[in-house]
């Protein structure tokens, strides 16, 4: 009965779909299902110690088997075998086998193939470690909040970013309190509230204060996970972006600094591309051109300046980009479309690309118009001073020479007088002394006249009718003109006005006309032509005669000099032209002469029409 019963059991066991084996207390196999035998490839179904069956599987020793399967708490063992070159994983678990009276008869071992499970486990392990590495490298942490359990879970990286211990367990309010008080905390509170309420995702850059008190920029993102339409979890990422934000900030600051610097430089700065189009302009450049950066960008010099000026600038640009040699501090003149011109000190520096070629340039122009004007003023002043100096030296020379010649005569004559015994000769010498004295007085008078002109600073120029003054001059000279039978040709319009000191105009007319008659040609009736033309800044008055003419090549330099006479004429004092030249120059005018010997002479007087 007992046997039958056993057999009966065995029979059932044999057919069990789950691989099952019965083992006695001595761990010798009593019986096993076919499926069990199939796993262990046992051909004979003889009772053998259980470990002999496992010997075909890898890494299983008798001790290990005993320890894991029978003595450990789990009472399970993982083992594998190679079948057709493939790994098959199994899990054997052991449970005690009792009879009706709770007496242990042995063990029941169940073996399951778990190849798929192991593979899944492997995959999971790999994914997890991959994720962990990624999180570590990218500094992207994650977190998860379970709405049901109200538990918040931070991954390792998230904890690291917060600088908390790996075993730290945060709550929602703690998590929120890590955010910096103020904007960051308010913002995250609102976002978290919203995601709980309606599941709206967020991604925000905010500041946290770490456990160690450091301020750090993070990118926090959250996404709701729903199950059957209900939000059950919030999953989110947490990324340390402090370095990027700081770097961005630094770049922005540098940019800001550079922009501020370029913009506020008191010189015009521009960057041009290879076609000389402006791709950057600063405030000074915009102000100079009276417009905004937007309207300037993309424009060339041809759009902004006079064509000739633009062409010069374009040629400079091309030269700089071709030679790669910067053009430094060149004086340039820009003429804007409205015709106003500005002097600049311009530098152009080529911009090199990675291949060492230039596809543009940086330009800097400093407005030096006022310096230029000062320079010109200075130049003019130097010229005026030089001329005055020359005049002064010349005058000093004249004074010393003329006065000296008279005093020398006095000296000589007095020497004669002392030694002379003859009364008649003494008389003669005395007469000469008087003559010398008269000459000295004349000379002093002449010099006085010249000094008067040169020192008369407050000239009272008036607008005078030229025709009327000529008539007046003709009346004053009537006897002299009649005696010489002078023929006048007056081409001067009746209403022509000239700006002059009245006495000077009189002197100029008198001297020029007298000269024209004095140096008449012996074979011709003297003819005097008077002309006047209004010019841009001057009134040109000319006196032309048909007289002897002057060899200008020979006397040109001396003609307006003091005590210079060039003709054998008894009346010549050599003073008239010198005086009127001084008078004309004192009124900011000028005088010039054209002449041909034996043909005649023309004096041109330029009256300055400018009123100071």
């Amino acid at each position: 009965m007992k046997t039958t019963k056993t057999l009966h059991h065995q029979y059932i066991l044999k057919q069990l779909p789950t691989a099952t084996a019965l083992v006695g207390m001595d761990t010798v196999l009593i019986s096993a299902s076919d499926s069990w035998h199939a796993i262990f490839d046992t051909e004979s179904k003889l009772a053998k110690p259980i470990h002999t069956y496992y010997s075909g599987h890898e890494n299983i020793t008798q001790n290990q088997l005993k320890k894991n399967l029978f003595e450990s708490q789990e009472k399970t063992l993982r083992h594998k075998k190679l079948a057709d070159g493939k790994e098959q994983w199994f899990n054997s678990s052991c449970s005690p086998w009792f009879d009706e009276d709770e007496n242990q008869l042995g063990f029941i071992i169940q073996t399951k193939e778990i190849t798929n499970l192991v593979a899944q486990e492997e995959e999971l392990k790999r994914t997890t470690s991959h994720l962990k590495a990624t999180a570590e490298i990218a500094k992207i942490g994650s977190w998860e909040y379970d709405l049901v359990t109200e538990e918040l879970h931070w991954c390792e990286e998230t904890k690291k970013i917060h600088q908390v211990e790996p075993d730290y367990k945060p709550t929602i309010s703690e998590g929120i309190n890590f955010y910096k008080q103020g904007y960051s905390r308010n913002r995250i509170s609102m976002l978290f509230h919203k995601i709980l309420e309606n599941g709206s995702s967020y991604h925000e850059k905010l500041i946290i204060i770490t456990n160690k008190g450091e301020e750090r920029w993070v990118a926090a993102a959250g996404k709701a996970i729903r199950k059957n339409g209900e939000i059950i979890k919030i999953f989110g990422t947490f990324q340390d972006i402090h370095e990027q934000v700081m770097a961005d900030k630094k770049i922005r600051e540098s940019e800001q600094l550079l922009t501020t610097l370029i913009d506020n430089l008191p010189i015009n700065v521009f960057v041009k591309d290879k076609d000389s189009r402006k791709i950057l302009v600063n405030k000074a450049e915009c102000e100079y051109l009276g417009t905004t950066p937007d309207t300037l960008l993309g424009k060339t010099d041809f759009d902004l300046y006079d064509k000739a000026v633009a062409q010069i600038s374009r040629d400079e640009d091309l030269e700089v980009m071709r030679t790669l040699e910067p053009m430094l501090a060149r004086e340039t003149i820009n003429v804007r479309k409205d015709g106003s011109s500005t002097n600049f000190l311009t530098s152009k520096i080529p911009i090199l690309d990675l291949n060492g070629k230039s596809n543009g340039l940086i330009g800097m122009s400093m407005d030096i118009t006022h310096i230029k004007q000062k320079e010109e003023q200075l130049h003019n002043l130097i010229n005026v001073t030089a001329i005055q100096n020359k005049k002064l030296i010349n005058f000093a020379h004249i004074v010393s020479h003329n006065l000296r010649s008279h005093t020398a005569n006095f000296s000589m004559l007095l020497d004669f007088l002392i030694r002379e015994t003859e009364e008649k000769e003494k008389q003669r010498i005395m007469k000469m002394l008087f003559h010398a004295s008269d000459n000295l007085l004349d000379t002093l008078e002449n010099l006085n006249e010249v000094v008067d002109i040169s020192t008369n600073v407050n000239l009272d120029k008036k607008s005078l009718n030229l025709g009327e003054n000529i008539t007046k001059m003709q009346q004053n000279l009537s006897a002299f003109l009649e005696e010489n039978q002078v023929e006048f040709e007056n081409f001067i319009p009746d209403d022509l006005m000239v700006l002059s000191v009245p006495a000077y105009l009189e002197s100029i007319l008198l001297n020029l006309v007298t000269n024209a008659v004095k140096y008449r040609h012996p074979d011709r009736t003297p003819k005097v032509e008077l002309r006047a033309i209004k010019q841009e800044k001057h009134l040109l008055f000319s006196v032309t005669d048909n007289g002897l003419g002057i060899d200008l090549e020979r006397y040109g330099k001396k003609i307006f000099g003091m005590y210079k006479t060039f003709h054998n004429n008894k009346d010549a004092r050599g003073l008239g032209l010198y005086i009127i030249k001084n008078q004309i120059e004192a009124m900011d005018g000028s005088i010039s002469v054209n002449s041909e010997v034996d043909k005649g002479t023309t004096f041109n007087v330029y009256f300055n029409e400018k009123i100071e």
């Binding site: 000296r404 000589m412 004669f416």
Partner: protein, 137 residues
Amino acid sequence: MKKLNSIYIIDDDPITVFGINKMLKTITTCRDITDFENGRLALEGLKQRIHQNLPCPEVIFLDINMPIMDGWEFLDELVSLDIKERIIINVITSSIDPIDYKRWNEFRLKCWHYLNFKNKPLYKIEATDLTRVHLAS
């Protein structure tokens, strides 16, 4: 008394001409003393002399500041004339400008004739103003 054939006085100032004439009387018996008002007239007189094959004046008193042709211009012209004799030229001026002295020196170096420089006022004409001692002979 020094015997001279001919003397020129070239000066536009009659007082100086009078003075030189007066001083010459005390030192020379020359009967041919001619005065000219300017360089141009003197040059014409000289050229005429050469044309008529007359000997050149042995001594010339030359003023610098004169109208029409001044002393320097006269010297320029004189240098270009082909004159065999060496004339003693006394440049007389009231100028104390160093430039005038420099110009005189330039002429002295390039001129075939003997050049003296005398500042006004003149009180006396020395024998050396009229002759040149030939040290070599």
